[in-house]
């Protein structure tokens, strides 16, 4: 961890790390709160779904980057894990389009 590099005492390192963890926790709780608010105040539709998607990816970013420490790994490891998820993006586009075609075929 960065704390070791800066030669902090164990108490200082603990305080610093715990502060960081609590900050991320507050961000995650805040985003979830916003999602709840939107679920009850905004009419359902594509616009709201896109906002939900963005907020979810933001939460995922904080969990993976800070809780799983991926932010502190070497760049090649980050890329080795992030690039394959492009296949997921492709599958989303392909199957949602397929679902729409099935709907048209049925009704």
């Amino acid at each position: 961890m960065a704390a070791h590099a800066e030669n902090l005492s164990p108490e200082e390192a603990k305080a610093k790390n715990v502060r960081k963890i609590l900050t991320v926790t507050a961000i995650l709780a805040g985003i979830t709160g916003v999602e709840f608010l939107l679920a009850f105040t905004m009419p359902a539709g594509t616009g709201r779904n896109i906002i939900f998607l963005i907020l979810t990816i933001a939460k995922a970013f904080y969990i993976v980057a800070d809780f799983m420490h991926l932010r502190h790994e070497v760049k090649s490891l980050i890329m080795a894990l992030l690039l394959p998820t492009a296949f997921i993006v492709w599958l989303v586009v392909a199957l949602i389009k397929e679902g729409g075609a099935m709907y048209i075929g049925r009704f």
């Binding site: 590099a5 715990v18 709780a29 009850f40 779904n49 993976v64 790994e73």
Partner: protein, 258 residues
């Protein structure tokens, strides 16, 4: 992180061709955990995207009203003709007969996020070689995991037994209350199937996570990691536990919110 902890790293004194180097500057165990999680990401993505595809291939309530010429103000009721609105399905909490959409699933999300936080704190304590702190935070994490599983058991039970007293008209002309893999009162059969598959697959992951957390707690208590000289195992299981939390974040959005 293995390269920056003060603790000795396994294989430090080996030669290059004997596992002496760490590719991507991460230990073997952590790399393998990361790649396992990547493959698990594909499993869950497959399930959630299937949900999206099947949902798009069914009528939504609005599309059904438009197609049948009913007014837009028609109140929502369950029918096998269209996909249900999630907040109408998941609106119950234990012990109270009230309509509180998404509150219970919100509590479950909160429990899982908190247990993820206590896991990070356990990992942080491991970096400082603080055995008592690791034990304390691991116990909280185990408790959080169990609380989540208890909530899910209640939610499943409520979903299976059904709500209301009448049930929904099935294609065979009978009324059906509750849900199983063949028919359900909430909407098309695939709705309940996907509910059982997706939350069940996630719940299985939580269950194995709780068991792994218990093993870590046991090993910590027995001083295994103190003797090894580092708490990297807590980090590796921590990665898995955060992943389970991460998956729930997506399940929450795609199954309950959208």
């Amino acid at each position: 992180m293995a390269t920056t902890t003060n603790a000795p790293v396994l294989g430090q004194h080996r030669t290059i061709w004997d596992g002496g180097t760490e590719p991507l500057k991460a230990s073997y165990g952590k790399l393998m955990m990361w790649f396992f999680l990547l493959s698990d990401t594909f499993s869950f993505a497959g399930l959630l995207i299937t949900y999206g595809m099947i949902r798009y291939s069914h009528s939504s309530f609005g599309e059904y009203l438009a197609a049948t010429g009913k007014p837009e103000t028609t109140p929502f009721s369950f029918s096998i003709d269209y996909w249900p609105v999630p907040e109408q399905v998941f609106d119950a909490i234990p012990f109270f007969e009230v309509h509180l959409p998404l509150v219970f699933v919100g509590i479950m999300t909160f429990i899982l996020i908190v247990s993820s936080v206590t896991m990070v704190l356990a990992v942080e304590a491991g970096h400082r070689m603080d055995k008592a702190d690791v034990q304390k935070w691991m116990l909280w994490t185990i408790l959080g995991g169990m609380a989540f599983l208890g909530c899910q058991a209640w939610e499943w039970s409520h979903f299976i037994h059904g709500k209301g007293a009448i049930g929904t008209l099935m294609p065979d002309g009978n009324l059906f209350l509750g849900a199983n893999l063949v028919q359900n009162q909430y909407g098309p059969p695939l709705f309940a199937d996907l509910f059982f598959f997706i939350t069940g697959f996630h719940g299985t992951h939580v269950t194995s996570g709780v068991i792994l957390n218990m093993l870590i707690f046991y090993n910590t208590t027995m001083g295994v990691y103190e003797r090894t000289g580092h708490y990297e195992m807590v980090e590796k299981i921590g990665l898995y536990w955060h992943f389970v939390d991460l998956v729930w974040v997506f399940v929450f959005t795609f199954f309950y919110l959208i």
